[in-house]
Each structure stands twice: as C-alpha cells, then as structure tokens.
Symmetry: C2
Subunit: 182 residues, 2 copies
C-alpha cells in the first residue's frame, strides 16, 4: 500500500488539505495527516478545527509521497518549519512524490527545495517565487515527481493528480465515485 | 450578514461538507457547523475527525439556509434524526435556502421533505428516491430555494451555488480567490 503524509499547520486551507486526503484514501492510499502543533488540533484558515492523525515530531521518511496544502498563514507556518522543508527536499531528491498547492509552492521555492522546477501556484504568491522556478499559469502542473496546484478551486483535481501518480489504475473508479464525468 | 447551518453526522463526506463551509465563509456568510453527536467531535466517512462549532440540540430556525452534506453513513445518520429532517422541512417551507449533496437529497426525499422537486444526487442513491422527486442527471440542480449536488467532485460548485443564492455579488471575488477561471 502506498503511503502519503499530509502536513497540517495552523491556517491551512481546508479544501486544499482534505479533498486530497479523502480522494487518496478512496484510492486505497494510506494517508497520515501530521500536525505541526504540539498536539493533534489544527485550525484551518477559515476556522475549522481538525484533528490530525499524528504530531509531526518524527522522521516520516518512509512515505511514497508528501503533500503541502496552502492557506494563509498555513503556508507561512510550513515555511517556518525547517524540518518540514527539509523533509520536502528529502522526498523530492529521493524520487518520492511531492505535492503542493496555492501558497505552499512558494514556501518550497523560498526554502530552496524546488529550484528551476516547473510549477503553478496562487497568483497572489507569484512574487514570492520570483525567478526561482518556472511559473506556468495552469490549475495543475506535473514536473516529474513534483505536482503543484494553483488554488483551492482545484483541490479535487490535485487529489486526482496525486492518485494518478501513485495508483493510476484507481483514477477511473475514484472519479466515478465522486460523480465526475469526463 | 447571512447565516447558514451545516449539519455534520458521523460518516459525513469531508469535501462535501467543508468545501461549502470554507467557500461560504470566504463570501462573508456566517456558517455554523452543528454536530449531531452529543459532543463536538464528528468523524468523516474517510476518517477525518472534525470539531463542529455547536451541538445540534436547539432550534436553529434563525438561519438563512441549511446544508446537508452526503457521505456514507452520514446521510443515513441525517435521515435517522427526525429533528434534522423537520428542520429541513421548516427551511424549505419558509423560503429559506436548503442545500443537499450526494446521498443527502435521498434522506430529504425519504423523509418527505422534497416531494416533487427537481433534484440531482449520487447515482448510487437514485433507487432510494424512486418517483418522489424528478431526478436530473446534472452536477448541480437549482429548484427555487432547493439546491442539490450529485457528489463530492462538485463540492466547490455546490459552495459557489450556495453563495450565488445568498450573496451573488460575492461570487466573482470568491472564484478569483479560489483561482477558478471561467
């Protein structure tokens, strides 16, 4: 079974975080949400309190992928966590999946994790990236093992893109269950 | 300020529930999530524990709208709550907004709340509705003050449809913030 860690910092965008969690679990992926707080409670950017599965206090290098949701100030809180950024770098360099959406690609870019990569992100964060990455104005951009999304409106697409990378044979069934027609 | 109640029963679909909560809050709507349990903790159909804002133990007739997410067994748990079904009926009959998605329209149909209405819902629940309603195979169906959605893949569309009903002047700004282009 594939395993993906999802990092939840206070101020995370709830759609961006949980649509992919839900969709990956529907595809049979083991998804473990990690709280960057000292307890399991994490508060979303629009005041929804969610209980994470574990506290982010270990190595967590055994996953097949890691996912960084956006949301303000969630993506700034991700950037403040040196351990989170180092884990992103570890996953990217070890050919494991890295997903990031909305403001979160700017966190990875500012931490020097995704230099020179093709990415998309929220237009409000373009300036934070500058020329560190090649920004493409699309909802979802796949560059090898890095998948980025522009914002909350494409959270379902992001979930499906992550599933498509890890267990492509599951995409059709998951889309059907979500009532999505091509 | 408009006010909407969102009913959360164990087994609710997290995207269907929280994408509309998030999107309505972005539009300046006061959204209050109500736990059908005896405490604030509610567990989603894919094992995400969320803390609701209040326990569903009052009247809650003062809102401008009420929203019923799907998810299994969440929509069955909604149906089991006579008070939830009665509140849906009160909102519908008093020209307040009623939203329901996925399996939840079947709960309202089986409770006799939406007889003869044009609705959409998850294809897996068509048989539960039978000829009580006029089922239309579309992602979102608006019939007066009743808005229904087919499933989790259209949770963002549902959120936007609810915003469009209550505060249409906010739709463009919210879509932009979600990075959705027409």
């Amino acid at each position: 079974m594939k395993k993906v860690y999802v990092l939840l910092a206070d101020g995370f965008e709830v759609i961006e975080a949980l649509a992919p969690v839900d969709i990956m679990r529907r595809a049979g992926i083991e998804v473990i949400t990690l709280s960057l707080n000292n307890n399991l409670e994490v508060m979303s950017s629009h005041n929804i309190k969610v209980m994470a599965d574990k506290i982010f206090d270990g190595e967590f290098k055994d996953g097949d992928g890691i996912y960084f949701p956006g949301g303000y100030p969630g993506y700034e809180n991700l950037l403040k966590s040196q351990k989170a950024m180092e884990l992103g770098k570890y996953y990217l360099e070890n050919n494991k999946l890295v997903g990031a959406i909305c403001g979160a690609p700017s966190s990875l870019a500012r931490a020097g994790v995704i230099d020179g990569k093709n990415i998309t992100l929220h237009f409000g964060c373009y300036d934070l990236v500058g020329d560190k990455c090649n920004i493409i104005d699309k909802p979802i951009v796949v560059d090898g093992n890095l998948i980025t999304g522009s914002g909350a409106g494409y959270s379902v697409d992001m979930g499906l893109a992550l599933v498509n990378y890890l267990v492509p044979e599951k995409v059709a069934d998951v889309k059907k269950a979500l009532t999505i027609k091509d």
